[in-house]
């Protein structure tokens, strides 16, 4: 079934052939490349240009530069989990093929950016708190669980034959797992122990100024672009996998 509720994405993914046209292939690659360049630039600016923070405010001021990677990665992880949720819901309630592709792409992108966030957070935590992980911090744990969920969905799907049973089962887990996203956000405010509050939408206490804000903004935009490129690329790969399966089925019946 083809629900053309999102004509632009649908046109890119389903255009002409299942593998996409050469133009759409290049579009996904171009977006991804743009994202990589932005992320690289952010990293360079974070290490070379970003102002140092006060030694009174941080145990390990140099390690604070990880922030320019960690926060945008977490931001993009939430976008990826958003894709996962929307895709899961579209498959579960409407049996939309596009929804399933979004589910797969969201899970893969969520795993990649979730691991980036967790890994960078652990390095920063080791330097700042003296421990890589704080088991008493609900926000850390719920985010870690979201990453585990993405890992479960990616590994589990790869181990199964694509079919309605597989899609139903994993989209159910995708829907349940998304409950953790608002829990994580609320946890930031309710059970904030060591981990700082939200930078985006965090009110006055979470606001940044000057160069720091600019570099962080560049990072957030770059990671967002990267995520969209990743999702487009992943959806195209899923389309190609489905095309291969249809060809195999046609040969089975011949």
């Amino acid at each position: 079934m083809d629900y053309r509720f999102w004509p632009v994405v649908n046109a890119i993914i389903e255009s002409k052939r299942f593998g996409g046209t050469s133009m759409t292939k290049r579009l996904a690659e171009a977006i991804l490349l743009l994202g990589f360049i932005g992320i690289g630039t952010t990293l360079g600016l974070a290490f070379l240009k970003a102002p140092s923070v006060s030694i009174n405010a941080f145990e390990s001021p140099d390690a604070q530069r990880i922030f320019y990677w960690h926060v945008p990665a977490a931001w993009s992880a939430f976008i990826a989990f958003g894709f996962l949720f929307v895709g899961s819901a579209l498959w579960f309630f409407r049996r939309s093929d596009l929804g399933w592709k979004m589910h797969v792409a969201g899970a893969q992108a969520g795993l990649a950016t979730g691991l980036m966030t967790v890994w960078s957070g652990m390095v920063w935590g080791s330097a700042e708190w003296g421990v890589p992980w704080d088991w008493t911090d609900v926000r850390l744990n719920t985010f870690g669980l979201l990453t585990f969920l993405a890992m479960f969905l990616v590994l589990g799907r790869q181990a199964q034959i694509d079919g309605v049973e597989t899609r139903d089962t994993f989209s159910t887990f995708g829907l349940f797992g998304f409950v953790l996203v608002p829990v994580t956000y609320v946890a930031t405010r309710l059970w904030q122990i060591r981990h700082p509050g939200p930078v985006i939408g965090g009110g006055e206490s979470g606001s940044l100024n000057g160069e720091m804000a600019l570099i962080l903004l560049l990072g957030a935009i770059s990671f967002t672009v990267f995520i969209f490129g990743h999702v487009l690329m992943s959806m195209r790969i899923t389309s190609l996998e489905q095309r291969l399966e249809r060809i195999q089925e046609a040969k089975d019946e011949a």
Binding site: F148, G156, A159, D168, T169, T172
Partner: protein
């Protein structure tokens, strides 16, 4: 026309990426036997599984006694009257005895008949107390066939009997007996859906289902004289609970899997933690004392993997009266491990903590079991990586530990 006992209304089923049933409809009333005799891969087993409510529907609905059993929206309900079911893959666990499996099938239908004459009839009497794993393929098939057939002899209310290849692997003499028994079941008013390749059954089928069309069988031979004088009694108990308990006693699966994880955790704690440094008023203490019970629960319920054998899990699921579990053994194991941990750290046993340890093992086990059951529909359920999700249970464990510490229970 009497009301249909079994109705399939415009049923479509998708398996994998292909539609294996497309808009199938049939009505089976009391005293009818419909034979499915299409070629391999035509969807005979799928129709039987759909009629038992095992498969989710793409379109349509399945009714038992006029009430929805399952429909395309996912609505599913336990039928008012239990049905008999023989799956193509037997549906019986090897660690159960022959008699136990038959009594389970009868108890699920809410009554009992004497099984001895039936075992005698099919030359299984000498195997009555044997484990099903010790039987030959043909003997195991007879047990599966009897388990699907005997509910039809319980009480006076006509039932639905769903028999998928009941004669596969049976010798000619047993097939003749089976034909005779099918006549008896039909004469009692049961509605029977039978999938088989054997030509022996054509004469006892009132209808033939080929493709999507059901037609009257011209070759049907009425056999009014074939009746039975079976006596049945009403019998209410919980066969799922009993079977779970029995299987655990017999295989020690909870001790062997959950227990080992718990004991290993306890051993590691005793080796690494200095007992004299443990202050029972600290949060770490309650976490420490409950760790082994928690680890035991994280292994999940081994019963689920045991029931994957010969699709016994599906057989139990179809009856919708519970699936065997290991909760009692989990409770005992969790309490025992908590007691041992406290003794190991030279602390006086706290009885409330023992109860919490037992309940912690059960509740953790229930969550992991739920994840295992949720993925049981997959083509490779054992490769679903559900254990990756078990860290989700650390959070409630941490909250429990916090609560124990704050409440001063220790």
């Amino acid at each position: 026309m009497s009301e249909a006992l079994l109705s399939l209304n415009g049923v479509s089923v998708r398996r994998g990426s292909s539609m294996v049933l497309n808009d199938v409809s049939l009505d089976l009333t009391s005293g009818q036997l419909a034979l499915l005799k299409d070629r391999n891969g035509a969807g005979k087993s799928t129709i039987i599984e759909v009629a038992s409510g095992l498969l989710p529907l793409e379109k349509g609905e399945v009714l038992h006694n006029g009430e929805v059993l399952i429909d395309a929206t996912g609505r599913s309900k336990r039928p008012k009257s239990a049905f008999g079911l023989t799956l193509q893959s037997d549906g019986c666990v090897g660690s159960l005895r022959v008699e136990e499996h038959l009594l389970n099938a009868l108890d699920l239908s809410g009554g009992r008949v004497d099984v001895d004459p039936w075992l005698e009839r099919y030359n299984l009497a000498h195997r009555k107390h044997d484990l099903i794993a010790h039987l030959s393929g043909g003997q195991r098939r007879k047990v599966a066939m009897l388990a699907g057939m005997l509910p039809g002899f319980v009480g006076q209310v006509p039932r639905i009997l769903l028999l998928d290849e009941p004669a596969a692997g049976l010798d000619a003499a047993s097939r003749t007996l089976l034909v005779e028994d099918l006549h008896k079941l039909r004469n009692r008013g049961n509605a029977i859906l039978l999938a088989s390749h054997h030509a022996d059954f054509t004469a006892c089928a009132t209808h033939l289902l080929t493709g999507n069309t059901m037609e009257t069988n011209e070759a049907f031979e009425e056999s009014k004289g074939v009746t039975d004088n079976m006596k049945s009694s009403s019998h209410k108990n919980n066969p799922a609970f009993r079977t779970g308990f029995l299987l655990n006693q017999r295989t020690l699966s909870t001790v062997a899997s959950n227990g080992i994880a718990g004991f290993l955790t306890l051993g590691i704690l005793l080796a690494l933690v200095d007992a004299s440094a443990v202050d029972s008023s600290l949060m770490q203490a309650s976490g420490l004392f409950l760790s082994a019970a928690f680890a035991a629960g994280l292994v999940g319920d081994n019963m689920v993997s045991m029931l994957h054998e010969h699709r016994a899990l599906d057989w139990w699921k179809a009856h919708r009266q519970g699936i065997p579990n290991s909760y009692i053994h989990g409770l005992l194991l969790g309490s025992g491990l908590t007691a041992l941990t406290q003794l190991g750290f030279d602390v006086a046993i706290s009885w409330p903590l023992l109860a919490i340890g037992g309940l912690l093992t059960i509740s953790t086990m229930v969550m992991v079991r739920w994840m295992d059951l949720a993925t049981s529909r997959l083509a490779r359920p054992r490769a679903a990586y559900t254990r990756i999700l078990t860290p989700i249970l650390i959070l409630p464990f941490a909250l429990l530990v916090q609560w124990i510490t704050d409440s001063g229970l220790l």
